[in-house]
Subunit: 162 residues, 2 copies
């Protein structure tokens, strides 16, 4: 379908072409509650133009490393029943901005530690700051909880010590 000049609505193919995401991805986002559409009598999706902004926002947030679930929660916090305003988007993006800043700080910290710590081989030492994580980025499960030395002669923890 080409864009409907009268109603200003878009078919899914239009949205895919104009947003750069695959039709299957739009279906997927809709299943996940990130997008919504109305249907024609023939059961085909019609989108309001604001869907393009939503899709842009989703892709952008993903780049920043935010999961679809979190994105969905943020989007669903938008005022219901009306097209989000610039102010709505700005509020959300400020939140993303802060998250982003945190991630940058975490990575920067990690980078500095990497130079000072692994670079010198102390990856093997229990005192290593990197390996006793502040866990800036530890988003994969409980993750690393404890790291000890593996050099002979250094103090060894008792077997039952955590």
């Amino acid at each position: 379908m080409a864009e409907d000049g009268r109603t200003g609505t878009l078919g899914i193919g239009d949205v895919a072409r104009r947003s750069g995401v695959a039709v299957s991805t739009l279906h997927f986002y809709e299943r996940k509650g990130l997008l919504s559409s109305t249907r024609t009598g023939g059961n085909q999706r019609r989108y309001e133009r604001d869907v393009l902004r939503r899709v842009s926002f989703i892709r952008l947030a993903q780049k920043v490393g935010i999961s679809l679930q979190e994105i969905g929660e943020a989007l669903s916090a938008l005022p219901e029943g009306r097209t989000p305003t610039v102010a709505d988007w700005a509020r959300l993006s400020r939140q993303w901005h802060d998250d982003l800043q945190e991630r940058i700080d975490g990575l920067t910290h990690l980078r500095d530690d990497l130079l000072g710590c692994i670079g010198c081989g102390c990856l093997s030492l229990r005192s290593c700051a990197l390996l006793n994580p502040g866990d800036e980025l530890g988003r994969h499960g409980p993750g690393a909880r404890r790291w000890v030395e593996d050099e002979p002669g250094a103090r060894r923890p008792a077997a039952d010590e955590r």
Copy 2:
């Protein structure tokens, strides 16, 4: 098993406790070729002490956002048949450091764009730098290829235009 004082080798439980990763994860890493072990007569794994360094390195690299596959490639590029030296680790970590710096640069760029671009609502404009991606972080498939305006009155591309 507690650590073997005579041979200096470690059982999988020791490695798990001391590295902070689950036994199942060590199995998994071994299946993926990231770790290796010898076996006792009773088919139980025995690890050299250097495995702790490898595990630390793997977890660290993951934090930096490197996939297990890439980590495996880097590890397999280590000189064969000998325990990696501090210099080997340093070479690898320098590579990670550079990757990390790139990611930081990308995120920083994104953060600045976020303030200047979404913050002002121009997410909807085709000229938006963010939405015509340099794709610093676009690691999810072909990803966004094209983003256009969705405001009435602006130029609209022909239907067959990409």
